[in-house]
């Protein structure tokens, strides 16, 4: 049975991370640095900083490890579970390393980037735990390709149904089939809908015209409206699917680049404190 990375190996990595957090907190409370000011330059500060820096390097190594399919003796799930819990433990380790001294400098920059990376990772974890189920529910057994095929089929049907109807209706139908698009830019994908959807506009216009029509034309129009409404439903479903996919990807666009910004800031942080020792 599938085991979530949260409970992986009976919370093994949660326990390791919790132990790291508790030991760090305990030492921080117990330690009374010379001068009475906790900071990164005391023996505990150097210790926590070393652990934090090594953790960051190891956490970033996950990006390399996950690309090696079938490589390594430790399962990728194990790596991911450890990545999540030790990444969260880093919040405490690094914050205690700072001694709560913050300023407009590269040291606080590294800390801020690290916290942003962790925050985006927390969102990623949330996305991986929540969206796959919502996605499955939304798809109702279809793939995005199948939804697009359906849209294309309905488009052709709409055009054929409209051929014997008026010019304005034909223009609307043609516009709906030629200008409707799914997804788009990042925000459009994330939003899950398209307020300028050509099909919405066309349906609206056709419904308007249908109220004025009579006789056999009205019947034809009703059929067309039914078809277009079905298309709108499929479009909504497809856009929601795209939204879920985007939500499950977008955090990585923050998580990964900020990790590399953090790597540069971390290296600078370490060099600078010893350069100006």
């Amino acid at each position: 049975m599938h085991e979530s990375i949260v409970v992986y190996s009976r919370f093994r990595f949660f326990k390791i991370a919790a132990a790291l957090v508790l030991v760090s907190l305990g030492l921080y409370i117990w330690d009374s640095p010379k001068g009475g000011i906790p900071n990164g330059g005391t023996w505990l500060g150097y210790g926590l900083g070393t652990i934090g820096a090594l953790l960051i390097l190891w956490l970033m190594w996950f990006g390399v490890r996950k690309r090696r399919y079938g490589g390594g003796t430790v399962k990728l799930e194990s790596w991911l579970s450890a990545h999540v819990y030790l990444g969260l433990a880093l919040i405490v380790v690094a914050t205690l390393h700072t001694g709560f001294q913050f300023g407009w400098n590269v040291h606080t920059l590294a800390y801020t980037l690290m916290m942003l990376v962790i925050a985006s990772g927390v969102f990623g974890l949330y996305a991986y735990l929540r969206y796959p189920r919502l996605m499955t529910e939304n798809r109702k057994g279809m793939t995005l390709d199948a939804m697009m095929q359906q849209v294309a089929d309905i488009d052709r049907e709409c055009r054929e149904s409209a051929l014997q109807l008026g010019e304005e209706i034909n223009r609307a139908v043609l516009d709906a089939s030629q200008n409707t698009k799914l997804g788009g830019g990042m925000w459009r994908q994330l939003s899950g809908h398209d307020p300028n959807c050509a099909t919405f506009a066309a349906l609206h216009r056709i419904e308007e015209l249908a109220t004025k029509a009579g006789g056999s034309e009205a019947n034809e129009l009703r059929r067309l409206v039914t078809l277009m409404t079905r298309k709108v439903d499929v479009l909504r479903q497809a856009r929601r699917d795209i939204q879920f996919m985007a939500l499950m990807q977008i955090w990585l666009y923050v998580h990964v680049p900020l990790s590399f910004g953090l790597l540069a800031a971390l290296i600078t942080h370490v060099i600078s404190v010893f350069f100006y020792w």
Binding site: K34, G41, N105, D155, L182, S259, F275, W277
Partner: protein, 571 residues
């Protein structure tokens, strides 16, 4: 009109499929409508788009209403047809073939611009994945890595390389401008106040990369910072294995530059008696809980011996049993001067004295100015020795001159005559202005003056004037006033700042009013301080650390670092 309409369809593998349709009609209509003779199945064509009509002069193609078409690239509404012409109606191309045998007109119809595959076009229009747009994860990663490294590593390194060596005498060596001070991005915390003025010149202290700040950088300004203890006796107190910056941590704001934590002192001083008995110091680790009784340094006998006397055993100021003494050689009972009814002033009658009448803070308000006879006592304690000599006053502190003043006065009186004292010789009592003729009379007069001088001196030195405050002895005919030993500071190892205790009354610490003898050492014991001050972590008292009262670098000792040390080590 009999028309041959041929529908052409191009096949994917090449070749053309052809379907002929023969139409007999008056008007040949083109359009989407099912009633059109030439039926176009495409929404881009109008329901009734155009029609071919026979008119005088030939066949004409005419558009309906809004419908138009193109002939040879020209849009038009009506056109006379010629054989071989190609006409565009929406996505269709209509070619006029001519008039073959048995037909009035023949034409071919071909859909040359089909709508295309709906699915493919939808896919082309849609972007359903985040990947592929913009820089991508890899691009952004590189960008952030490089930008961060350039701004926060490259720029500060450039600043370091471009710095001229800092010189405290040349303000121009403090860098200016964003790039020259870019290494400030590396500041790990705020500078301490005194170092701020050259704070952007990192190289003022950090002279070499990857080398901790050296003592030489500190002592280039802080010359003569003293040792903590006499290193010839206590070598471990030289702190040779420690640098200045081991204790003085910069970049923690003002809070860090001076160590204030008791723990640092208690490291040694909590068991100093065991570690360095020769120091003669008691153990101490916390002012509230673990601090010895104060021991004042005071003269302990008339000969000038100084002792450290404990101020202990005085839990209440009023209880002065077993009180510590100071032998200043001055007879000054504080209590007599502070009685409530006041003291007698030679001119003003009874006046009430208070502490401030004699004890005036020094300009820094830390200690007190020394009490001086000339400034504080003489207004009442005038040095006049004879009611007949109100214009003469004895010089203070100069017994030989004082004796001369007395002798001079009585010799003058004797030689002048007119002395009304009973028992004085005739020559001294003669009418003033009468000259002395005989040498014997003059000698008699001077002999009386000498005797009188001795008598008065006995009274003045021994009792009434000098003797009332000083210990005066007569040795070999010479009057000797015992040397006064008034202390500037009784607790030289600590600093008590009177100025910071102005809200406390004098009597809260110094019970002078109850003091009846000059040997009372009017200093409070530690209990008195502890009623307000607690240790470093005191919650209900003024938290006070070791350095609140004691200095680590002790004035008077040789410099801890710098030229003296370098010389001693042969450098």
């Amino acid at each position: 009109m009999k028309a041959l309409v041929s529908y052409l369809t191009r096949k994917a593998k090449g070749g053309v499929a052809r379907r002929d349709d023969v139409v007999e009609t008056d008007i040949l209509r083109f359009g989407r409508g099912a009633d059109c003779e030439v039926h176009f199945v495409d929404p881009r064509v109008q329901l009734h788009h155009a029609q071919i009509v026979a008119r005088p002069g030939g066949y004409f193609l005419e558009g309906f209403g809004v419908g138009d078409f193109e002939v040879g690239g020209q849009r038009t509404q009506a056109h006379r047809l010629n054989a071989g012409e190609k006409i565009q109606i929406g996505p269709y191309e209509v070619e006029i073939v001519g008039s073959p045998e048995g037909y009035d007109i023949a034409l071919t119809v071909e859909l040359v611009r089909p709508l295309g595959d709906d699915l493919e076009m939808l896919k082309t229009r849609s972007r359903v994945h985040l990947a592929g747009g913009g820089l991508g994860k890899r691009g952004w990663s590189w960008l952030l890595l490089l930008v961060t490294a350039a701004f926060f590593l490259g720029a500060p390194l450039y600043a370091f390389v471009s710095h001229a060596p800092y010189s405290k005498s040349d303000p121009a060596t403090v860098p200016h401008g964003a790039l020259a001070t870019a290494d400030s991005l590396w500041l790990s915390g705020p500078m301490s106040g005194p170092h701020k003025f050259f704070g952007v010149a990192c190289n003022a202290c950090h002279e070499k990369p990857f080398v901790q700040v050296r003592d030489e950088s500190c002592v280039s300004c802080h010359t003569g910072i003293e040792h903590h203890a006499d290193t010839t006796k206590f070598s471990f107190a030289g702190f040779q294995d420690q640098a200045c910056q081991s204790c003085h941590k910069e970049h923690n704001g003002d809070a860090g530059i001076v160590l204030r934590a008791d723990a640092f002192c208690a490291d040694c001083h909590s068991s100093l008696k065991q570690q360095a008995a020769a120091a003669g110091l008691e153990n101490a680790s916390d002012f509230g809980r673990d601090h010895p009784q104060f021991r004042a340094t005071a003269p302990s006998d008339a000969a000038g011996k100084f002792d450290r006397v404990s101020l202990g055993g005085r839990l209440k100021l009023a209880d002065q049993v077993g009180k510590p003494v100071e032998v200043s050689n001055l007879k000054f009972p504080h209590g007599v001067h502070l009685v409530d009814r006041g003291v007698r002033h030679p001119e003003k009658g009874l006046i009430k004295l208070d502490c401030g009448g004699c004890h005036v803070p020094d300009s820094g308000k830390v200690g007190m100015l020394p009490v001086k006879m000339e400034a504080n006592c003489i207004e009442c304690h005038q040095l006049r020795f004879d009611p007949g000599a109100l214009d003469r006053e004895l010089p203070h502190g100069k017994p030989i001159q004082a004796l001369a003043v007395i002798g001079d006065f009585y010799a003058q009186r004797a030689l002048q005559g007119g002395v009304e004292e009973a028992g004085a010789p005739e020559v001294v009592r003669r009418r003033p202005g009468t000259p002395i003729v005989a040498e014997a009379e003059r000698l008699e007069a001077l002999a009386w003056a000498k005797t009188k001088t001795d008598q008065v001196a006995e009274r003045v030195f021994g009792k009434s004037l000098c003797g009332s405050c000083h210990t005066v002895t007569k040795q070999g005919g010479q009057w000797e006033v015992a040397k006064i030993r008034l202390m500037d500071r009784f607790l030289p190892k600590g600093v008590f700042d009177h100025g910071r205790h102005l809200t406390v009354g004098c009597a809260d610490c110094h019970n002078a009013k109850a003091s009846e003898v000059a040997t009372d050492l009017l200093l409070p014991g530690i209990e008195n301080c502890q009623s307000c001050h607690g240790g470093e972590k005191a919650a209900d008292k003024v938290p006070s650390t070791c350095v609140s009262c004691h200095e680590f670098h002790r004035p008077g000792l040789p410099p801890m670092r710098g030229p003296a040390k370098a010389a001693a080590l042969g450098r």
